[in-house]
């Protein structure tokens, strides 16, 4: 192909150069365009805008929140609430926004992460500003993770979940085993699981190899509640009751897994115990309230009351214990609209807000005591709430400032132990090491 013309770079401006100049102009225009794309400055100075960030629980929950938010805005015309959803990596995102100085005003604060935020002064002690009688509405044990070392309250639980024993009535009937009662001990549970396996071929118990799921067993057999706030606290695993109950449980699990009557969810090719239970691949599981809406949604033919039911977690030698999981609404300590935020919190977390967002939605339990008898509560949730006073200890999922990190590390160790990759002794050693490790820096 020959070139189009001969003269090189002469006096006249060749067309390509013009085109190039136009291109540069276009680019500049684009830049200007985007800069002009910034959201218009919206609010007149009197109106406070607060940003509220949560993670996703699907469209229905988002719509409920939006309904409540517009209700709130109607009642408080000088406040605008901007609702933001962060679908994954929630805490990382919030952390990143703190680093950028653009953290939301109010956001979900998980009990596992709360201590870090509190310790670093990132959240505001709302307990100081909220009326006494408002705070008293909540279950006292749920407030624990959100209290700082200075005793101040940094957030109120917006809802919570509790562990219960779920059992499949049909499998029990098939195996001829009587259903769990209030008198059940852990031995009764294991015996029932064994029998069910022998009679039906399905494992009697499916449970995650996670420290938080095993804590009811440890606590009810005399172990003290775990608190890890420094490397020295690794000594928790030297405690006699802890050692004996943990060793017992691991060895039982290892043995039972070989025999087939106790499994982890992966053993029956499921992602979590809720799925295993819903598919009726195991007769019992110890899981949280979140399982109830899951079953309703994914396994609609598997009905509460007729096909499955809830029971108290069995008793150990030292009483009965269960775990509570909760999330609070944390307030950015540098927020500029404290009053607006407080009003918002009291609305969303008060009885009116919880009735719509928690009771009706049915994903979690209301954290306000009086709502336990609300007629709109799902019957299964009502039953769970009724159990609460029967426990000697309701342990909140909170072990100190490194809860999230430790839980992950413990799960690795316990998972290896349960699969027989390491012995119970080695597991205990490793657990201690992990605690020491995470406080090293």
């Amino acid at each position: 192909m020959t070139t189009k013309e001969g003269s090189a770079g002469g006096k006249r401006i060749s067309t390509p150069i013009i085109i190039a100049a136009l291109a540069v102009v276009a680019v500049v225009l684009l830049a200007v365009l985007f800069l002009a794309q910034r959201p218009p400055t919206p609010t007149p100075p009197k109106v406070a805008v607060i940003r509220f960030a949560g993670w996703s629980a699907g469209e229905t929950e988002m719509k409920s929140y939006q309904k409540m938010i517009s209700l709130f805005q109607q009642q408080n015309p000088d406040i605008i609430v901007k609702y933001e959803v962060i679908t994954q990596m929630f805490s990382e995102n919030i952390l990143a926004s703190y680093a950028a100085g653009a953290a939301p005003d109010v956001f979900y604060l998980d009990s596992a992460w709360a201590p870090i935020f509190i310790e670093k002064g990132a959240v505001y002690p709302v307990g100081d500003k909220l009326p006494r009688d408002f705070v008293d509405q909540f279950y006292p044990f749920l407030l624990e993770p959100f209290k700082g070392p200075d005793g101040k309250l940094y957030g109120l639980p917006k809802d919570w979940s509790v562990l219960s024993l779920f059992y499949n009535k049909k499998l029990f009937a098939q195996a001829g085993v009587p259903e769990p009662t209030e008198a059940w001990t852990w031995e009764d549970l294991f015996a029932a699981a064994r029998t069910i396996y022998q009679k039906t071929g399905k494992p009697g118990l499916v449970i995650h190899a996670e420290f938080n799921r095993w804590l009811p067993y440890l606590l009810s057999n005399g172990a003290p509640p775990p608190v890890f706030s420094s490397g020295a606290d690794a000594a928790y695993f030297d405690n006699a009751a802890v050692k004996s109950s943990l060793t017992r449980f691991i060895e039982l699990f290892q043995q039972g897994r070989k025999e087939g009557w106790i499994v982890i969810p992966a053993d029956v090719n499921t992602g979590w115990s809720g799925e295993a239970f819903g598919k009726q691949l195991a007769a019992m599981t110890i899981e949280g309230s979140w399982m109830i809406p899951y079953i309703v949604d994914q396994f609609p033919d598997f009905k509460y009351g007729s096909d499955w039911d809830l029971a108290l977690i069995p008793r150990g030698s030292a009483g009965r214990a269960t775990m509570a999981y909760t999330v609070a609404l944390g307030v950015n300590s540098k927020t500029e609209n404290l009053d607006a935020v407080l009003k918002f919190i009291m609305f969303i977390q008060g009885p009116e807000g919880q009735r719509e967002l928690v009771v009706r939605m049915g994903h979690t339990l209301p954290s306000i005591k009086t709502l336990a008898s609300d007629p709109e509560l799902w019957p299964s949730h009502a039953k769970e709430l009724g159990f609460v006073e029967k426990y000697d200890r309701v342990q909140v999922f909170f072990y100190g400032p490194k809860t999230g990190e430790l839980e992950g590390k413990f799960a690795q160790v316990l998972g290896a132990a349960v699969k027989g990759e390491i012995s119970a002794q080695e597991a205990l050693e490793l657990l201690k090491e992990k605690v020491a490790e995470s406080f090293k820096s």
Partner: protein
């Protein structure tokens, strides 16, 4: 002899076809599986031993998708972002790729290596600095911001550069000797020959933009602004479990545009012959 030749051709065709079909099966198999799964309930889709035929056959997964009030909006957002990204990249990458491959400039190769090095940085550690930067620039929660960030992809520049290099320097040398100025050379020599590479570039940028998850996840906040992958994730993953079958259905729907774009561009890319001005 004719018969032998015919026989050889038949054998060759048979071998070629077998190979093609075998490969196609391997590559298509997971797709077939996900199409089938999208018509099953999760209970059945995850059943073990695995089942092949949807029973009951359910359209529920797709219904769940279309019941999402924001689903059309998300598609629109994603289409807008992807379209703009492709258009911008076609221009910027071919220009820069040409420049790096052909034009002479002091420190050119060093500059290029510096650019390439940017690709090698592990992603997670740069999230926070990027986030800070984007926030300070006011680009958070802004779809045009996303477009802007992706408007001159480094891997796109790299692709175009390598393509021009493979055309051979002699081609452009010839043009230079003939006295054509560089810009002319770009417009009249390089561009016409770049169709296959531009096609590939368009496909890659469209794909990357359409399926992008991490970027939109970090930089978008309002649900109305979400792109499709983030939106699907929002709708179907709860904090403790994920509704897989609607996501499978959703991702099939989401792949459809990419496949269409690819099919269209494919015809554009595969040209019969390429005229190459090689002198020996």
């Amino acid at each position: 002899m004719l018969l032998g030749e015919r026989g050889l051709r038949v054998a060759y065709l048979a071998a070629a076809y077998t190979l093609m079909v075998l490969l196609a099966l391997i590559y298509l198999m997971p797709f077939l599986r996900s199409i089938v799964a999208s018509f099953m309930t999760w209970a059945q889709a995850s059943a073990y031993p695995p089942e092949w035929w949807p029973n009951p056959f359910t359209l529920e997964n797709y219904m769940k998708l279309f019941r999402l009030s924001l689903f059309p909006r998300w598609i629109l957002n994603t289409a807008l972002v992807s379209g703009l990204v492709v258009a911008l990249n076609l221009v910027t990458c071919s220009m820069a790729g040409y420049a790096f491959a052909v034009l002479r400039f002091p420190g050119r190769d060093l500059l290029f290596s510096a650019l390439l090095t940017l690709l090698m940085v592990p992603p997670f550690v740069t999230i926070i600095p990027n986030f800070i930067l984007i926030t300070k620039l006011g680009l958070i929660d802004n779809l045009i911001g996303l477009v802007f960030l992706g408007s001159a992809s480094v891997s796109g520049v790299y692709l175009m550069r390598q393509y021009y290099l493979s055309l051979g320097r002699e081609l452009f040398e010839a043009a230079r000797i003939d006295g054509a100025d560089p810009l002319r050379s770009y417009l009249y020599v390089a561009l016409p020959l770049s169709k296959p590479a531009l096609g590939a570039l368009a496909i890659y940028q469209f794909l990357g933009s359409w399926n992008a998850f991490l970027g939109p996840l970090v930089f978008l906040r309002s649900v109305e602004n979400f792109t499709l992958p983030v939106g699907l994730n929002f709708a179907f993953s709860r904090s403790l479990w994920v509704e897989y079958t609607p996501i499978i259905a959703g991702s099939l729907v989401a792949s459809a545009p990419t496949i269409i774009v690819y099919v269209l561009l494919n015809k554009y890319m595969i040209r019969g012959t390429v005229v190459a001005a090689r002198k020996g």
